[in-house]
Symmetry: C2
Subunit: 409 residues, 2 copies
């Protein structure tokens, strides 16, 4: 690990960070200056002043995404502050570019007050075509996302919530084909009731699951439990219909699916043994999973996924957010709604063909170049169908546009 | 002009704006991903959490400048709003890159409230190594700049105020050599008491001028005049020592220098005739100057400058801000102070050799590639000498670093 530390520090120091601003136009002589700046630039300004939607026509708004964080929940490092979060947000921008052809810019805000974050982002919106919220702690992240979705006419997406949820759903869709089960019959245990856990529960319920149980560090969340924050209280209303109580060992009994978005080593081999037949275990804590995959398999797990690249079935966020923003922005969507998220999960699942599908390959790999355009086109199509797109593109048109943008054409 | 309009609109539409975000690192395989993002990225995050100055070491902070506007005073177009200002701010970023090797990012804020702008920029600061304020109307721009300078440990510079002032001073230093006059003996008339006029007056007084008179649309500003806003009241304290009153025609009598930062065609041939011997006329209103240069020469002007590229002596802002930020950021200066501004003006003046100097060449041309590094090194040196630099570079080191950065090395 010391080797990784030294290499990572050198990598960042040698390059003085990972990002730069580049120009799409050349300025080699007076005439270029006249067009790019004064006096020519006055004309697009005046067009936008007349018709504010022309900002999409004459500026880079359609491809700029603000990567907004305040550094209160960075990776597994906790609240390290806005400055210390910048390497992650620059990294996110690198991934946006490489996997989605999106121009993501880090906006790291020196405040923990949700109202200040909301106001700041609302004021910043003119330049950006989308807002990616990142590494903001729960429960503030829910309020911030909800309010920004209401106030802004552009996509707002908290990746920690929805990115993991969408990819996990994609992997789960394919896993159920292997074990021949249906969402409506599942008992799903979600360990972790923060940003990712809550979104996971919502999307899986939307997909048809009836019995989803969320756990926090105090055990199962049920209606009537004391000391629940507002988001957990809301979840108690729509999860755990049988009001099961107890710790993880108790709740895992007879479960079909374990989804971990918590911390290392909390799931034991015995707990896996207590699950229903052919259990599915996605242990996604980073960098160390809720259970070592070898132990999970020993306990009888049929399919095991983690967040790591050195095991099969990596639930890696780069599978979702770049294509989702690509598709949403290519049709100038007003938002990223549930249908668009479900379409992204389906698109990911579809990329694993029936012939290839097996317990060690239920989700595409991060460097599968089909992922970005495929997810983008599916998301664009769902945006058009749900009436939130300002531009009407067919699936084929959206696929072609996304492919070109990701290639940098 | 219709041709320029069509070309400028097409130029912006074809490119969908002028900017993009680019990466300084490649992500081609799992190992790259490991360094640029999780888990490797955690290490620079932790270093910054321990020592916040390490943000300069592991992120692009040392080269990011926020180009902040709210669109209330855009070019000569007035208050057209944040959205309509974006093409100008993207253009400014292009110039930052081409002439200074600086990564400028447009931050166009949807608010006219100075307190909201101040708060927003303070929260945004972690990512940025400098703040360039742009096209924010007076008098709010003075308050915003003053407060941000107090609250932020990085350079804050309102280009509309200081950029024009610095270049004009550079041109004036050289012009005085031709007419053989000294600052202390001059009567200087500044028509326009907004952002640029106020800064012009301050820097020329700092350079030794004793008799500077500012005019607004109501005529000369003098101590005791009614209905002065706070910034004009402050200027009345340090300008117009003889309390001259009257309109531009009145005040121009016996003036040595006319500096126009106002509107087209307000200076007449007769007014130029009424000036002292060998008058200097810089008519910098854009796109049309305060007087047609031909008329000014006919009226007896010895040296004429404008903001336009189609006349001699173009006072073009690209001569100053890219090199100023380059130099300030290369030594991690805490601010851009008066000494650094004066150093920039001197550096510009020095680039015109005694042999080349003539009434049609008192200031370098915008595409003179010597300008950026020369201004940067002079500014860096002044920062070191006045104790506001966090890095101690010699003139030669600063010159070398600026040259490399501007070339994109």
């Amino acid at each position: 690990m010391d080797d990784l530390k030294n290499r990572a520090l050198k990598f960042h120091e040698d390059n003085l960070g990972k990002l730069k601003v580049a120009t799409k136009v050349a300025v080699n002589d007076e005439d270029d200056l006249t067009l790019a700046y004064s006096p020519g630039v006055a004309y697009p300004c005046l067009e936008i002043a007349k018709n504010s939607d022309d900002v999409y026509k004459y500026t880079n708004k359609s491809n700029f995404v603000a990567i907004v964080s305040n550094g209160t929940a960075v990776l597994g490092l906790g609240n390290i502050g806005a400055r210390a979060s910048i390497p992650v947000m620059e990294g996110k921008s690198v991934l946006f570019k490489e996997f989605g052809g999106v121009d993501g810019f880090p906006i790291c805000l020196d405040t923990e007050d949700p109202e200040e974050i909301i106001k700041t982002v609302v004021r910043l919106e003119p330049v950006f075509g989308g807002i990616n919220l990142e590494d903001i702690k729960a429960p503030e992240c829910f309020l911030i996302e909800d309010r920004l979705k209401q106030e802004l006419p552009i996509p707002v997406f908290h990746d920690d919530q929805h990115g993991t949820a969408i990819i996990t759903l994609g992997a789960l869709i394919n896993s159920l084909k292997i074990v021949d089960k249906e969402f409506k019959d599942l008992k799903v245990v979600i360990n972790g009731a923060g940003a990712a856990g809550v979104s996971l529960a919502r999307i899986i319920i939307k997909k048809g699951a009836k019995n989803v149980i969320l756990l926090d560090s105090r055990g199962a969340i049920y209606k009537g439990r004391k000391n629940l924050n507002i988001s957990k209280e809301q979840m108690a209303e729509i999860t755990n219909p049988n009001l099961e109580k107890g710790d993880l060992a108790e709740i895992c009994k007879n479960a079909d699916v374990f989804l971990g978005v918590s911390v290392a080593d909390v799931l034991t081999e015995d707990m896996v043994k207590s699950m229903a037949n052919n259990p599915i275990v996605f242990a996604m804590a980073n960098p160390n999973p809720e259970i070592d995959p070898k132990l999970a398999l020993k306990g009888g797990a049929k399919i095991v996924g983690t967040g790591r690249s050195d095991y099969p079935n990596q639930i890696n966020n780069v599978l979702a957010f770049p294509g989702i923003f690509r598709g949403a922005m290519d049709v100038m969507a007003r938002e990223i709604n549930m249908e668009m998220k479900l379409a992204a999960a389906d698109a990911l699942a579809e990329l694993v063909s029936e012939a290839e599908l097996n317990s060690e390959y239920v989700i595409p790999k991060p460097f599968d170049t089909r992922v970005g355009p495929h997810v983008a086109a599916a998301v664009a199509q769902a945006a058009v169908e749900t009436g939130v797109a300002r531009i009407n593109l067919s699936y084929e048109e959206a696929f072609k546009r996304a492919t070109e943008k990701i290639r940098g054409e």
